[in-house]
Amino acid sequence: MKLLNHAKAGTLESGDVFITVTPGEELLIRLDSPVKQQFGDAIMDLVRKVLEEQEVTSGTIELSDQGALDCTIRARLMTALERASKGDVS
């Protein structure tokens, strides 16, 4: 997947994760989470895995987590990536 535009997905509701994706030169992943200590590593691993699957090698991915489960993080990230690869400037 090639990132063409800035995009976002998810919400700040409990159990959700708000993700923004921005095209860029380097790969930067920023995680803000109330469970960073307990699940920070696991979440980062999951994000890297999805990026690898989608062949995304650069860009800034920012996650504002509210205790989302893996299936939610994966879904929101996929949606953000798909929206970012559309080329929409909205």
Partner: protein
């Protein structure tokens, strides 16, 4: 000041008359909750008078007591004993704001320690919403009325010097007194002992969250299945949304089965007042009023009785209310595979609570039930070992979550009754695995700094310690 008039002009006078010196212990109750002005007022005055290294023995410290951190910085306060500490204070203390260790007790353990001489109060500052010139006082009347003054009664009886602080002085004698003049040394009139808006949280509310209601429904059905729900039944529950929902569902079961309970106890809320007024519980035994409905009820109803913390839960009393309790509903931040419960610290080991009456009621009751969601925002409730033991597992009978319940292995009879009733019973390990199958296995890094608190059991024994998070 004379024997028939103990009113002194200022707080400063009262403090001087008390003989309060460096290193002594002062006490406060928390019946004014987040509206309290008294604790801060007294400590500020002590600071002005240059008194240092005071030990503060408060039944609980709330967020509004944050200024105590300033008193620690300027050396006025050097030690703290309490039964509960709001995270607004717990956070900084966990990071090392206090050099000495906080002593955490329970609502029953605090008066027991006084009785046994393990802790000593030099000067008790007791806020009362109405008082007379001799110090007869109560919390049921006056503009800042808060209801029961139960936590202050042991202080009045056992402190070396007692100062009553009120914003409503009435003619002698106050015949509706909860604290008797024979214990009182002086009376100070202040503009306001507390903000009435913040003293009471209006009405406490039953949760509307469907998962919370599910947990409450399971708990009520567990009580029914236990065989304890018969005439003469006694019950206690907390003020949280799920705890109140249990009372609500229990009320429905009692109505249906035409059961009359003997008493409901503890922190009293409108929900329990309603059940009592309907005739489902004959008496209310009140150590603390949580809302306006409870305050109104205690003011007008002789079956709604105020009780001292000693009567409520002290193991040093010849008997206490908790010893007569059939069922108590409690919460938890964490519970481990040995059923030990933590209500002192969060998943990161930071102080944000305390036992309150948790360990007392768990110890005294026939059936202690912990109600809690299996995970809170991805954090699992069940851990291998709690970061702090507030209540030992041997006093905990049942955990009820939305995914099912776990019965203490020593309580075979209960487990069989629950299974017989078709309730979803699992082992604690199975529930833990269920949570982890959803959340993943959390990485736990507990605080490893110096000791910042000791948790003392109601019997005066060291139960656990809390370390600093640096």
């Amino acid at each position: 000041m004379s024997r028939d008039n103990k009113v002194v002009a200022t707080l400063s006078d009262a403090i001087r008359r008390s003989g309060l010196k460096d290193g002594m212990c002062v006490s406060f109750h928390h019946h004014l909750r987040e509206g309290d002005r008294v604790l801060n007022l007294v400590l500020d005055e002590c600071a002005r008078l240059g008194i240092k290294n005071l030990k503060v023995n408060a039944s609980a410290l709330m967020a509004c007591h944050r200024p105590i951190l300033e008193r620690i910085k300027d050396g006025t306060v050097s030690h703290i004993e309490c039964n509960y500490m709001h995270k607004a204070l717990g956070g900084p203390i966990s990071k090392g704001a206090l050099e000495s260790e906080v002593i955490f007790r329970s609502h029953g353990g605090r008066p027991a320690a006084l009785t046994r001489g393990e802790s000593v109060i030099d000067v008790a500052f007791i806020a009362a919403s109405t008082a007379d010139r001799a110090g007869n006082c109560n919390g049921r009347e006056g503009k800042a009325a808060f209801g029961s003054i139960g936590y202050a009664m042991p202080d009045a009886e056992m402190a070396n010097h007692v100062v009553i602080m009120t914003d409503h002085l009435v003619e002698y004698p106050l015949s509706t007194a909860s604290i008797d003049e024979r214990h009182v040394d002086s009376v100070v009139v202040v503009d306001s002992i507390g903000d009435p808006e913040k003293i009471m949280s209006g009405t406490t509310r039953i949760t509307r969250d469907p998962v919370g209601l599910l947990i409450a429904g399971y708990a009520a059905n567990a009580i029914l299945a236990s065989g304890l729900l018969i005439d003469g039944f006694s019950f206690q529950t907390g003020a949280g949304g799920i705890s109140l929902a249990v009372a609500h569902y229990l009320g429905a079961l009692m109505r249906e089965q035409k059961i009359t309970g003997s008493f409901a106890s503890g922190g009293i809320t409108g929900t329990l007042v309603d059940l009592h007024e309907e005739g489902l519980f004959e008496k209310l035994l009140d150590v603390q009023c949580f809302d306006r409905d409870a305050v109104a009820s205690i003011g007008k109803n002789t079956m709604h009785r105020e009780i001292s913390a000693s009567t409520y839960a002290s193991p040093a009393s010849k008997s206490a209310v908790v010893d007569h309790l059939d069922v108590v509903i409690l919460g938890a931040t964490e519970i481990d595979t040995n059923f030990n419960v933590n209500v002192h610290t969060d998943s990161n080991g930071i102080i944000m609570g305390g036992s309150g009456g948790h360990s007392d009621t768990a110890a005294g009751s026939k059936l202690s039930i912990i109600v809690a969601p299996l995970m809170r925002a991805r954090l699992p409730l069940i851990v291998d070992r709690v970061s702090t033991i507030s209540t030992p597992g041997s006093d905990v009978d049942l955990l009820v979550t939305q995914f099912g319940m776990a019965c203490h292995p020593d309580n075979d009879e209960l487990r069989l009754r629950l299974l017989d009733a078709g309730l979803p019973v699992f082992s604690m390990e199975a529930l833990k695995e269920k949570a982890e199958s959803l959340t993943g296995i959390p990485v736990r890094r507990l605080p490893e700094g110096r000791r910042v608190a000791s948790v003392i059991s109601r019997d005066g024994v060291l139960l656990d310690t809390i370390k600093a998070r640096v």
